[in-house]
C-alpha cells in the first residue's frame, strides 16, 4: 500500500536478472501508472546494493543459470525482499526470477536454495520449453487470457500454498498443464521478458494491488489488443 506520494517500483538486480527485454515490465507499469496520474519512482537496484524495503512493487526478471544462482544467494543474504513481502509489497517475477521465489531450483546442474516466498519448487524438465505460451488465467484474478513467449529448461511444481496463474492452452509453463503461480500479492510466470506488454490487464492488477485503487480508468489499448489478438489467433491456426 503506497502511502507516499510516489509509487515506488524496484527492478531487482538488472545486472543479473535481465536476459531479454525484462526492462519492458518496468516501463509498462510506469507508463500505465503515469497515464492515471500516479507519479512513479523507478529504482534499479544492482546486486551489490541493498534491496530497499519500503517500495511498492518489486520486479524480478529472467537470467542465465549462473546469475540466477548468484541472485538467489545475494537476495537471501540481503533480506530486503523478504522484509518488503512482510510489508505486503507486490512482487512480479518472470522465468528465472519466478523460480528463485520458490523453495529450490536447479542451476548449473545443482539444486539451489530459493527464497521460499512462494510454495513451489523447480527442477529440470526433459526438454527446453521454447515458444509461444498461452493460458486461461485463474478466474479469481479477473484477467483475460495470458499470452507470452517462454524460454526455459525448468519445470515447476506447485505446493498447496499457491494457486496456478493459468491453465495452459499452448506451450509448457510449469509442467504443460499449469502456468505460473500467485499467492497474496506475489505473482510469477514463465512468460518471459516483457510479459506485461501483451498482458496489460495483469499490469493493472499489479497496480491495483499496489495502490489499493479499484477505480483505475481504462486506457487506450488498441495496439496491445491487436497484438494480443494476433498472437492468440496465430496459435489457433498453428
Amino acid at each position: 500500500m503506497s502511502t507516499e506520494s510516489h509509487l515506488r517500483i524496484v527492478w531487482v538486480y538488472p545486472d543479473l536478472l535481465s536476459t531479454y527485454g525484462d526492462r519492458g515490465n518496468l516501463l509498462i507499469l510506469a507508463r500505465r501508472a503515469d497515464l492515471r496520474g500516479l507519479p512513479v519512482e523507478a529504482i534499479e537496484v544492482r546486486s551489490d546494493q541493498p534491496v530497499p524495503v519500503e517500495a511498492d512493487i518489486y520486479l524480478l526478471g529472467g537470467g542465465e543459470d549462473g546469475p540466477q544462482a548468484l541472485a538467489a544467494q545475494r537476495l537471501i543474504a540481503d533480506g530486503g525482499l523478504h522484509k518488503a513481502v512482510e510489508r505486503q509489497a507486490v512482487v512480479f517475477a518472470v522465468c528465472a526470477g519466478y523460480q528463485l521465489l520458490g523453495a529450490s531450483f536447479y542451476a548449473k546442474g545443482q539444486q539451489c536454495t530459493g527464497l521460499e516466498l512462494l510454495d513451489l519448487r523447480s527442477d529440470r524438465g526433459p526438454s527446453r520449453a521454447v515458444g509461444e505460451l498461452a493460458g486461461e488465467v485463474d478466474p479469481a484474478l479477473g484477467v483475460p487470457a495470458l499470452t507470452g513467449f517462454e524460454n526455459h529448461g525448468g519445470r515447476t511444481h506447485l505446493g498447496s500454498g499457491v494457486r496456478p496463474l493459468a491453465t495452459v492452452t499452448a506451450g509448457i509453463g510449469n509442467d504443460g498443464r499449469t502456468e505460473g503461480a500467485w499467492s497474496g500479492r506475489l505473482l510469477g510466470t514463465y512468460s518471459h521478458g516483457p510479459a506485461l506488454s501483451r498482458n496489460p490487464a495483469l499490469a493493472d492488477l499489479l497496480l491495483r494491488w499496489a495502490t489499493g485503487r479499484d477505480d483505475l480508468e481504462a486506457l487506450d489499448d488498441t495496439w496491445t489488443n491487436r497484438l494480443r489478438g494476433e498472437r492468440l489467433a496465430a496459435l489457433r491456426t498453428g
Binding site: P14, D15, L16, S18, T19, Y20, G21, D22, R23, G24, L27, I28, R31, R46, S47, D48, E64, G66, P67, L70, V130, G131, F149, N151, H192, G193, P194, S197, R198, W223, T224, R226, L227, E230
Partner: protein, 420 residues
C-alpha cells in the same frame, strides 16, 4: 597446390563447385551452402584440405562480422587474391563452398558464426582471428552471452594464432586474454547490458563515466572488474574521430562509404588484421573506401524521388548502432520473427527507441504490432503501413532510412529489386 590434395578432396571440390553452379542456375539458391554440404559428405575433411595452403583470417562476433570480413578482404587484397564467404554463409558448409569456388588463392578471410569458431579454427588453422563483440542475439536458439564467451575462451587457450580483439568488450577481453598473442583494438561498445557482471568472478564491472552516445559510445571509456584483475587492456589500435591510430602512433584518416562510427571501428579491426599479414594501413585505406554495400546492407536505392537506404539490425546492440548511422530523416522500421530472425520479439524492449523522437516513423513487417506496442511505451509516434509502397508514398521526397531485421530486410530488398 591443388595437385597435393588427396583424390577424394579433389572430387569433393569438383562436386561442390558443380552443385553451387547448379543451385545458382536453377535459381534455388546462391550456391553458398549447398556446394559445401555435398563436398563435406564426400570428404569430411574437405574444409581442412581446402584451407591447408592458405593464410587465413577468421572474423567472428555477434555484430559487424559480415562488414568486417568484407573490409578485411579488401585490405588483405593488397597482397593478392583472397577467398571469402561474401554471402554471409558463415558456417563450415559456407566456408567449404567459398574456398572451393575461389580456387587456389594465397589468402582467405572468412566470416564465422560465433558458435562455430572453435570448429572452424581447428579445421582451418588460421593465422589471425578477429573477435569483434558478444551480445544477446536470438536467445530462443543461441547460446547465452556468458556461455558463448566461455566457449571461445576454452577454444582459444594458448592456441598458435594471433588474436585481434576488442578491448572495449569485457566478454571478448575475458575470452581472448588466454590467447598466446593478442592485439587489442579500441573498437567501442555501445551496448553494455550483457557485461555488467564479470565473467571471471561475478563481481561488478564498472565503467569510468557514462558512455557518451553522441560520441559513439565513448570508445575511450575505461572499465574494470571490482572483484578481480580483469580490466580493459591498453589498446594498440584506437579511433580518434575519423582517424585510426596505428600501434606506431601514425594517424590514418578513414574515408568510408559505409555510415557510422561502428564501421570506422570495423575498419580499424580490418587494418589491424591486415597488418598481421604485412599490409600497411596507407595501402589498405583506398581499398576500404571502395566498399559501398555489403549483401545489400547500406545500399542506397532511388524510388519515386526517395533516396532509400537499407540498414540491417538483428539484435539490440545492432539497433543502437543503426540509430547512430541513420540520418535525421523519415525512418521505416520493419520486424519479422521467422526462423532466421528468432521467434521471440522480447528484445524490442531492450532497445531504447528514443533516438527516433522527432523523426517521422513508419512501421511494418510480420510483427509490426510488437513494434507498435514498444513505440507507444517509448512515446515515439508512428504510423503503421502494410506495404513498402505505402511507406514510400507516406514520406516526402528525400532520404528514407529503412531499418529492418533479417527476413524483413530480405523482403524489402526483394521488393526494391522487383521495381528497380
Amino acid at each position: 597446390m591443388t595437385n597435393r590434395r588427396p583424390l577424394r578432396a579433389k572430387l569433393a571440390t569438383s562436386v561442390s563447385r558443380g552443385a553451387a553452379a547448379l543451385s545458382r542456375a536453377t535459381g534455388r539458391g546462391d550456391g553458398s551452402v549447398i556446394g559445401g554440404r555435398l563436398g563435406l559428405i564426400i570428404d569430411p575433411d574437405l574444409l581442412a584440405h581446402l584451407a591447408a595452403d592458405r593464410q587465413i583470417a577468421l572474423i567472428s562476433g555477434t555484430n559487424g562480422k559480415t562488414t568486417t570480413t568484407r573490409l578485411t578482404t579488401a585490405a588483405v587484397g593488397v597482397l593478392g587474391p583472397v577467398a571469402t564467404n561474401s554471402y554471409g554463409a558463415n558456417m563450415p558448409t559456407g566456408h567449404t563452398s567459398a574456398l572451393a569456388k575461389a580456387g587456389d588463392t594465397p589468402y582467405a578471410v572468412l566470416e564465422v558464426d560465433e558458435h562455430y569458431l572453435p570448429q572452424v579454427m581447428a579445421a582451418t588453422g588460421p593465422k589471425v582471428i578477429a573477435l569483434l563483440n558478444l551480445s544477446r542475439d536470438q536467445l530462443d536458439r543461441a547460446k547465452e552471452v556468458a556461455m558463448m564467451a566461455q566457449l571461445w575462451r576454452e577454444a582459444l587457450h594458448d592456441q598458435p594464432v594471433h588474436l585481434v580483439a576488442n578491448a572495449d568488450d569485457p566478454m571478448v577481453v575475458w575470452a581472448a586474454s588466454v590467447g598466446a598473442e593478442v592485439t587489442w583494438v579500441a573498437a567501442g561498445q555501445r551496448w553494455h547490458d550483457d557485461s555488467w557482471v564479470c565473467p571471471e568472478c561475478g563481481g561488478a564491472i564498472v565503467r569510468s563515466g557514462e558512455p557518451d552516445l553522441a560520441a559513439g559510445g565513448a570508445p575511450d571509456t575505461d572499465w574494470y572488474c571490482t572483484g578481480c584483475p580483469l580490466r580493459r587492456p591498453a589498446p594498440q589500435w584506437t579511433l580518434d574521430g575519423h582517424a585510426v591510430v596505428a600501434p606506431d602512433g601514425s594517424r590514418h584518416v578513414v574515408t568510408l562509404q559505409l555510415p557510422g562510427r561502428v564501421n570506422r571501428a570495423n575498419a580499424a579491426t580490418a587494418l589491424a588484421v591486415a597488418a598481421q599479414f604485412g599490409v600497411r594501413p596507407a595501402d589498405a585505406l583506398p581499398r576500404l573506401a571502395e566498399v559501398a554495400s555489403i549483401a545489400g546492407r547500406y545500399a542506397q536505392v532511388e524510388r519515386d524521388g526517395r533516396a532509400i537506404r537499407l540498414l540491417l539490425a538483428k539484435n539490440p546492440a545492432g539497433w543502437l548502432e543503426a540509430f547512430d548511422m541513420a540520418d535525421q530523416a523519415p525512418t521505416l522500421l520493419s520486424i519479422n520473427a521467422r526462423d532466421p530472425d528468432g521467434l521471440d520479439t522480447s528484445w524490442l524492449f531492450d532497445v531504447d527507441f528514443a533516438p527516433l523522437t522527432g523523426r517521422q516513423v513508419l512501421i511494418t513487417g510480420d510483427r509490426a504490432y510488437d513494434l507498435a506496442v514498444r513505440l507507444e511505451v517509448n512515446e515515439v509516434p508512428f504510423q503503421h503501413v502494410t506495404t513498402f509502397a505505402q511507406a514510400v508514398a507516406a514520406v516526402p521526397p528525400g532520404r528514407l532510412e529503412v531499418i529492418a531485421n533479417y527476413t524483413a530486410f530480405q523482403d524489402i530488398r526483394a521488393e526494391l529489386d522487383r521495381v528497380n
